[in-house]
């Protein structure tokens, strides 16, 4: 099946070294956003960028470990959501494999896919952990209003979660794609070995002399 080809990856040293860098970009993306007091998390830019550059495994593992590390250092509640970050990395990697980030329709599709993965995946976790709330005050206000209005809790929980994911993932995907196309060609090429099949050679970055 075609889609599985995206996962047939040779992890060379470069791909392995790229993963911690993507994790650090996830962190920095969030730190810079909170430094500027932007009302968004923006903590998966590295995951999406890594997936677009080097495939679903790099993106997925970066997402997974970003969450593991946050859980162990600043926010233990992030731990169960590691699985969602893994899925976001996979989704972006599959989109990247098919080159969705290169066309306008594709970019919209990539965004929608990531929002769906994030919101559908997080809802059951929110139900188990928070009785369906998302822990974000505005989303939780919507949740309270909907439940009060007689909506089923799972649907209210989904809308609560999605209300946060829709703007956050929009900016995440836009920023990741802007960064991707802001890179010099040789760096895009450097990490794109995974797109080729059967070719063992890395492409051509001229080193700074």
């Amino acid at each position: 099946m075609g889609i599985l080809n995206a996962f047939k990856v040779r992890m060379n040293t470069l791909a392995i070294v790229l993963i911690p860098v993507c994790i650090a970009i996830d962190w920095a993306g969030h730190a810079v956003a909170s430094g500027l007091k932007l009302p968004l998390f923006l903590d998966s830019i590295g995951t999406v960028l890594g997936a677009l550059l080097a495939g679903p495994w790099v993106g997925g593992i970066a997402g997974l470990i970003t969450n593991f590390i946050s859980s162990g250092t600043v926010d233990p509640i992030a731990a169960p959501y590691s699985i969602i970050s893994l899925a976001i990395g996979f989704a972006a990697g599959i989109g990247g494999y098919y080159g969705w980030h290169k066309t306008w329709q594709g970019r919209v599709a990539l965004y929608i896919l990531i929002v769906l993965v994030a919101s559908i995946g997080s809802t059951p976790l929110n139900l188990g952990l928070y009785q369906g709330q998302s822990g974000v005050p505005t989303g939780d206000a919507i949740y309270a209003a909907l439940v009060k209005g007689g909506w089923p809790t799972w649907l209210a929980a989904y809308i609560d979660e999605a209300s946060g994911d829709i703007p956050d993932k929009l900016i995440t995907v836009v920023v990741a794609i802007l960064i991707y196309f802001g890179l010099p060609n040789r760096y895009r090429a450097l990490f794109s070995v995974w797109r080729r099949t059967g070719d063992e050679k890395a492409p051509a970055p001229a080193p700074s002399v």
Binding site: I16, I19, G29, L36, K37, I77, Q133, V175, F191
Partner: protein, 259 residues
């Protein structure tokens, strides 16, 4: 400049000395059990055990500082929303004008908040008493690939380095006239000029770092050297198994009607 990212605090307590795997299994099992056990009393019992261990480990004060900042907003949000809007609500606790607050929601929110507290406390307890390098080393001794071990370890160091870089970049861009304060659109426009240099430099460094690793033989298919041994004991092995088995046992008990 910061070293690696870690909450670890030197110590000699029972928890500090325990095998990393014992602590890991304990943490995961306790968190799972907190969400499986059926009633408030059971959760309180788990919380009590955790509290005792926190005191034993000598990290009570630090734990309160970090955990409270995290848990307080969540607890408030849960108590406010669930007491007000939960499908099970029917016993009125109090009413302020049109806003009615219910007992059932309060109880449900309290249980959820306590479970999250167990999750947070157990995790911090683990982080406070276990060196990150020990976790990866212990896992690698049990078959985690050296590549994954490398990824986790180096991420812990690259993160603080990258955050330092973010500070330098902010200085550099502000010196060019970039505004990082003011209205939301103004601040939002500063995001890319702050992020892009960081991403570019990080990726450039990736190439050289990959070469530097190959130059040191990283990735050679050799039998891994154990960097150090962890003290283990029969008691710890039994504890690990008991804790690991307690989770499926509790699930089965719940399915059989444990209330």
């Amino acid at each position: 400049m910061a070293g690696g990212l870690s909450l670890y605090q030197e110590g000699a307590s029972l928890l500090h000395r325990a095998h990393p795997l014992t602590k890991g299994v304990f943490t995961l099992s306790v968190i799972a059990l907190a969400f499986i056990v059926p009633s408030l009393y059971w959760i309180l019992a788990i919380a009590l055990i955790l509290l005792i261990l926190v005191i034993v480990a000598g990290v009570l004060r630090r734990l309160i500082a970090v955990a409270l900042a995290l848990l307080l907003p969540i607890a408030v949000l849960l108590l406010a929303v669930q007491g007000f809007a939960n499908p099970a609500n029917h016993t009125v606790l109090f009413a302020i004008g049109p806003v009615v607050y219910y007992t059932e929601g309060l109880y449900i929110a309290a249980i959820a908040a306590l479970r999250i507290t167990c999750l947070v406390v157990a995790t911090f307890l683990f982080s406070f008493t276990t060196r990150p390098a020990d976790i990866t080393e212990a896992l690698m001794q049990r078959g985690l690939s050296p590549a994954m071990g490398y990824v986790v370890q180096s991420a812990l160091q690259i993160i603080p380095q990258t955050l330092d870089m973010a500070g330098r970049i902010q200085d550099a861009q502000r010196s060019r006239g970039l505004e990082t304060e003011g209205s939301l659109p103004k601040r939002a426009r500063a995001y890319l000029p702050l992020m892009l240099p960081l991403v570019l430099s990080s990726l450039v460094a990736t190439q050289e770092r990959a070469m530097a690793l190959e130059v040191r033989g990283f990735g050679l298919p050799v039998k891994r050297v154990r960097r150090y041994e962890f003290a283990d004991s029969a008691v710890q092995r039994v504890t690990r198994w008991a804790l690991a088995l307690a989770v499926p046992a509790a699930i089965v008990a719940r399915l059989l009607g444990w209330k």
